[in-house]
């Protein structure tokens, strides 16, 4: 696997630990500077931990390069300041802050994609003064996505954005990500195969904490045997499972 100048993110020999336990093991992959790269695998293989390791949210070692610059020795806030937007699993909005305060907190500079956010999430404009903790799960996901899209990022790390959402909201989230992917590359962790089919250009598959497959999304998604082997589901299933 060679480092290409067209990759916004390169990950080499990444290890991650939580309370001394190895959760990411020798993971290497690239994220091109356009489109959506899906990070896939069965439940518990270390997808979320890989994202957290890239950001430095958990103990890590290995090499992480963002736009040609090593970031693996930087603290999380400095990695993010270099141009990463993060949408965590379970949204993690600040429930006691209003929607406006959640977005205000995420502002990193004066150059903001406010118009894009307002266009994608008009409901949030109406709910500026509402406490984020009182929003529905779908609305909270919109806040979480809006926080990441507000800044002019070089990469989005989006972790299970459709988890626990109704089919209608899943469609809205997918549309928002599709629109966002036109302006910024995305590394997406997702369990919903339909959403993966809709969004992913490339896939990276993890198993046992390691990368077992990388390639074009169609190479995996058009091959039922690979889907069964790597993701543990039939190609017609809605969700990746274990």
């Amino acid at each position: 696997m060679s480092t290409s100048t067209s990759n916004i993110l390169t990950v080499r020999n990444l290890y991650g630990r939580i309370e001394g336990q190895q959760v990411v093991e020798d993971v290497s992959f690239d994220v091109p500077d356009t489109g959506v790269t899906a990070l896939l695998g069965r439940n518990g293989v270390g997808k979320t931990s890989t994202i957290k390791s890239i950001l430095g949210l958990i103990d890590r070692s290995g090499e992480v390069t963002l736009g040609g610059r090593r970031v693996d020795r930087l603290p999380t806030h400095k990695v993010v300041q270099l141009g990463i937007g993060y949408v965590p699993e379970d949204r993690e909005v600040f429930g006691k802050l209003t929607v406006a305060e959640n977005l205000k907190l995420a502002e990193r500079s004066a150059l903001l994609n406010r118009a894009l956010v307002e266009e994608l999430f008009p409901d949030l404009v109406q709910r500026q003064a509402q406490l984020a903790g009182t929003l529905s799960g779908g609305q909270q996901q919109m806040v979480s996505l809006a926080r990441a899209l507000l800044n002019q990022n070089r990469l989005l790390l989006v972790d299970e954005p459709t988890k626990g959402l109704s089919p209608k909201i899943v469609g809205e989230v997918a549309q928002a990500l599709l629109a966002a992917a036109k302006t910024v590359p995305i590394l997406l962790v997702e369990q919903n195969l339909q959403v993966i089919r809709q969004l992913a250009d490339r896939v990276v598959v993890l198993s046992g904490g390691r990368v077992v497959f990388t390639g074009e999304a169609t190479e995996l998604l058009d091959d039922p045997e690979r889907i069964q082997r790597y993701l543990g589901v039939h190609s017609g299933s809605a969700e990746v499972n274990a």
Partner: protein, 291 residues
């Protein structure tokens, strides 16, 4: 009636003192999860140095008192910020080490203060009006209680306005909820940690000068004795809740005053029983977040 008024208002005055110490403790625990046993030291050094400055200006004047309060707050803030920067910062998420270091610092600082200012109390001279009383509904209330209440309310309002309307206030409120997510938004939350220590230290240093007016003296142990009640207030109010600390400060102090008067000096026991009741019936405190 006059006795009840007296106990209520003096209780409010004592509660104001507790709040000045507990507000910092609560904010520090809420944001950083640090139980700071050295917080009393910020109070004591604020009191000592505040009064040193007052003595050198014009002992007993309002001007000297204002200088003492300002100095106490600044010294408390600086010492607290330095403590966070040089000692606590390396120990986040290492709770046992935090306790050992802050308890050690508290013990060492008492020894240091005794070495500098001696083991005997240093009696302070404040403006004569503060030593007088004002009659309300037949009760003769020591005037210094009014000043304690006014200052504590001003501190509470200032902290609330700071938290509500400044970017750092926003960061602190978000950090109390989810520190890691604040970092993941690209914010250096460590600066907020130092700032919260400084704010807590300023309130404690100011509280130290006011405590010395309340008691009439400064001693190396003044911070430690108030810290015990401030911890109780913080737990009863709910760790991390400023509003909880404010409410619990008043409840604890008023309970203490009434129990002392009506139940033969059992104020401290009543406070400990109240703490036990809260821990048994509502472990997260009055306004603390659910675990």
């Amino acid at each position: 009636m006059s006795t009840i008024v007296l106990l209520l208002i003096t209780g409010l005055g004592l509660g104001a003192l507790y709040f000045l110490v507990a507000s910092g403790l609560s904010l520090i625990y809420g944001l950083m999860g640090v139980l700071n046993f050295a917080h009393g030291s910020f109070l004591t050094i604020g009191a000592f140095i505040g009064w040193e400055v007052a003595l050198r200006l014009s002992d007993g004047s309002w001007w000297a008192l204002a200088a003492a309060m300002l100095t106490g707050a600044v010294v408390g803030a600086l010492v607290a910020a330095a403590t966070e920067f040089f000692l606590i910062r390396r120990l986040y998420n290492r709770h046992i080490e935090q306790v050992l270091v802050t308890v050690g610092l508290a013990l060492a600082s008492v020894a240091l203060f005794e070495g500098i200012w001696g083991t005997d109390p240093t009696y302070v001279t404040s403006p004569s009006w503060l030593g007088q009383t004002t009659e309300i509904l037949g009760a003769r209330i020591p005037n210094n209680r009014f000043m304690l209440i006014v200052v504590a309310v001003l501190v509470l309002v200032s902290i609330v306005l700071f938290l509500k309307f400044t970017r750092y206030g926003l960061i602190i409120r978000a950090g109390v909820e989810n520190r890691l997510m604040v970092t993941a938004l690209g914010i250096d939350v460590r600066r907020a940690f130092t700032l919260v220590f400084a704010i807590g230290g300023a309130a404690a240093g100011l509280g130290g000068v006011l405590a010395s007016i309340y008691y009439g003296y400064v001693s190396a142990h003044i911070g430690g004795s108030l810290l015990i009640f401030a911890f109780i207030v913080t737990v009863i109010g709910g760790l991390g809740s400023l509003a909880g600390a404010a409410i619990a400060s008043v409840l604890v102090a008023v309970l203490q005053q009434f129990a002392n008067f009506y139940l033969g000096g059992t104020g401290d026991l009543a406070v400990v029983l109240a703490l036990a009741a809260v821990l048994l019936l509502r472990p997260r405190g009055l306004l603390g977040a659910k675990a």
